[in-house]
């Protein structure tokens, strides 16, 4: 009877210890802020993905040509 009681106490104390230790493994719920620094996810440059596949020069050339489409003096000639 006593040994059975001892076993219950041992199991209960073990479970209690495991429960308390679980608190130590809790992940932080808030972000560790660094004042004045961007805290979000990193972004990739616009030329990283297809169709440019990392070719920055090609992307810049395309954007430059595209920008000139807004210049009607160049589009229709003056």
């Amino acid at each position: 009877m006593i040994s059975k009681l001892m076993r219950i106490v041992a199991v209960a104390s073990g479970a209690m210890a495991a429960l308390m230790l679980a608190g130590c493994g809790e992940r932080p719920q808030v972000i560790d802020y660094k004042q004045g620094k961007y805290q979000g996810k990193p972004d990739e440059p616009p030329y990283a993905a297809a169709p440019f596949n990392g070719n920055k020069d090609m992307w810049e050339r395309d954007i430059r040509n595209r920008t000139q489409n807004q210049n009607e003096y160049r589009r229709i000639g003056s």
């Binding site: 802020y33 805290q39 979000g40 440059p45 616009p46 990283a48 954007i63 920008t67 807004q70």
Partner: protein, 212 residues
């Protein structure tokens, strides 16, 4: 490449709101949020001026300075973007912005402010480029497709210019010097050609007695 900028030519803007419509359509902007809008000064008075306003992607952006959770960042092209996963919808950026660019969707029936939404220069946000998640949170990423913002490209009078700051400044400079200023900007000679305009040598001579 310098920094991406918008430039609105108030002499050309006709308040058609094409830029506003293009932005809403392209980015599937929710009801109640206007990333871009047209402001008219002296509406109805002769000499009224309209200008299309959105996030100006400031070089020293006040929204970035006041954000308590530091969710703003500036891309290497000079576009000011933010991470909606971090935004807490506090509205500080709205108070700090001189252009009223940050917008807050009405997330609930009682006017609870949602996460901030603003013009992204059609550059998406911190998600995989051209992914479904990026489109849902930030709208289309036209820069990654080698295109410019829809508002500027859709502008019928090309009042709104968007792109590399140096390039659009050069376009505007050429335009302003060509059209002149004051009374030269408007009128018959501007609309139908000026006397000093060079005539093409291949053009046939006008028939005598023909209509002018």
């Amino acid at each position: 490449m310098a920094r991406m900028k918008f430039l609105c030519d108030a002499e050309r803007c006709i308040e058609c709101n094409g830029c506003v419509t293009a932005c809403k359509q392209e980015n599937d902007v929710p009801w109640g949020v206007n990333r871009r809008r047209v402001v008219t000064i002296n509406d109805g008075v002769p000499g009224e001026r309209s200008i299309s306003v959105a996030c100006m992607h400031c070089s020293d952006a006040p929204c970035m300075a006041v954000c308590p959770v530091d969710c703003f960042y500036r891309s290497e092209e000079g576009v000011v973007l933010h991470d909606k996963d971090l935004c807490i919808g506090c509205g500080y950026c709205f108070y700090a912005c001189p252009f009223g660019a940050p917008q807050f969707p009405q997330a609930g029936a009682f006017g609870v402010r949602g996460k901030m939404d603003k013009c992204t220069f059609c550059a998406g946000g911190p998600e995989k480029d051209n992914s479904e998640a990026e489109f849902k949170k930030y709208g289309r990423n036209r820069l990654a497709e080698g295109k410019l913002p829809a508002c500027a490209e859709m502008c019928s009078t090309k009042a709104l210019l968007g792109g590399d700051g140096d390039t659009i400044a050069e376009i505007y400079r050429q335009r302003a010097t060509t059209r002149g200023k004051g009374s030269e900007v408007w009128g018959w000679s501007t609309a139908y050609g000026r006397p000093e305009a060079p005539k093409s040598p291949a053009a046939p001579a006008a028939a005598p007695g023909g209509k002018s």
